[in-house]
Amino acid sequence: MYPSRFRYEAPHSLDEAIGLLHDGGDYAKVLAGGQSLVPLMKLRFASPELVVDINNIPGLGYHRADPDGTLRIGALCRHAELERSDLLKGTQPAMAAAAPLIADPIVRNRGTLVGSLCHADPQGDWASVVLSLGGSVVAQGPSGRRMIPLAEFVLGPFENALRPDEIAVEAVIPPAKGARAGGYLKLERRVGDFATVGVAVSVETSGETVTRAGIALTGVGGATIAATEAAQALVGKPLSAESIGTAADLAAAAAQPRTDHRGSAEYKRHMVRTFVERILSRSDHAAERAA
């Protein structure tokens, strides 16, 4: 399969890339890891006239924590780097759990977290994780940078809030106000498949009390779902079997699964409940590879 014909530019600076996008208008696409874009172009679901490859722009491959604990993930930080990151293992349990579950190891060598957020696939894993953490995307355009909370960044299936001449240069995860726990569990038919059901849970605790909670769902609706009421049920009290049960029920109620070849709607809803309980009940919140 071949993509349809396009013009290719590989600029060496962000300014140059933004200039190219500005001139290219609606028919330009940014190429980072290419693990979603190239297949889409081969299948002719995407036929951009201009592809702006940002892989030659230096300084975008980082992930690092600011002194206050804010985590920043650059546009060219590959899944594989996040999978091997000690920083994530120590400070970001949900992200550390999700990284090894993205696609397969070879795809993870190329694909990027920021690209995954931009792709806005309802079955994408990172959007749920970043949503559960209250994260944002930094967009850079001709008039500067703006920060877009993920809840406003993902507009719908495969649709993001970037303007045609903006590049998503960074994802930002705010610092935890106390201890951070959580996880990501994904039900998949085989390695590398899209999620049948994915659940991201992030909680912050001060002493025993939960001060902030986020729950987000993958693959059980037309877009990534923020289970806000479910998360709210955890806040202001210690985690208990009762609060976990309530949150799990509310998360299952927030899911909008459809019966398809991956499973029935009832089954998927049941798995949402199970995953929320499992993540929150586990004393060890370390990365868990598979459901």
């Binding site: 071949y2 014909r5 396009f6 693990q35 190239v38 190891p105 070879i106 190329r110 390695v191």
Partner: protein, 173 residues
């Protein structure tokens, strides 16, 4: 590489955007004129003429087309040829020395790691990247590293054994 286009009596062929790229493949320096939409897998197979890199699913699933770019395993059907400009590509043909099999190839032979052989080049290249990073992997780590490569014959048991065999051989060298 030479590309042939339909002459429809219009300017379309003349407007084809071409780029000149330089890269190395298995250590040999190459220059190619490529259209940006050419995939790396096609550059390798049809441009350079190295057909050991197989095209399986063509949809980023099977891993048969796995090659190394600057030492990292990538699915060559999901990378544009223009993206290897200035980079080093390694394919299965680069494994063996003139008269000697690479320990991975030897391992696949010793442990019967292949039946039809279609997935084998991709398996070996993914394994090569693993062993460069982790010379003494556990069975679990081998399985995890090969989880982006599909085999429809072996059931994977002997492939995993082959890679562990090669790892032991490489460590003893």
């Amino acid at each position: 590489m030479t590309m042939v286009y339909e002459d429809r009596g219009d300017d379309a062929a003349g407007a084809v955007p071409m780029r000149r790229i330089k890269f190395t493949i298995n250590g040999e320096k190459k220059v190619a004129e490529v259209e940006p939409r050419l995939l790396l897998s096609h550059l390798i197979r049809r441009g350079v003429g190295l057909t050991g890199t197989h095209m399986g699913c063509d949809t980023t699933n099977c891993g048969a087309c796995t090659v190394l770019v600057d030492g990292q395993a990538v699915k060559s059907c999901t990378m544009l040829a223009v993206q290897v400009d200035g980079r080093a590509v390694e394919t299965v043909e680069g494994l063996a020395a003139a008269s000697e099999l690479h320990p991975l190839q030897e391992g696949f032979k010793q442990e019967h790691g292949l039946q039809c052989g279609f997935c084998t080049p991709g398996m070996m290249m993914a394994a090569k990247a693993l062993l460069a990073r982790n010379p003494d992997p556990t069975e679990e780590e081998v399985r995890w590293a090969l989880s982006g490569n599909l085999c429809r014959c072996t059931g994977y048991q002997n492939i995993v054994k082959s890679v562990l065999w090669a790892a032991a051989k490489l460590r003893s060298e």
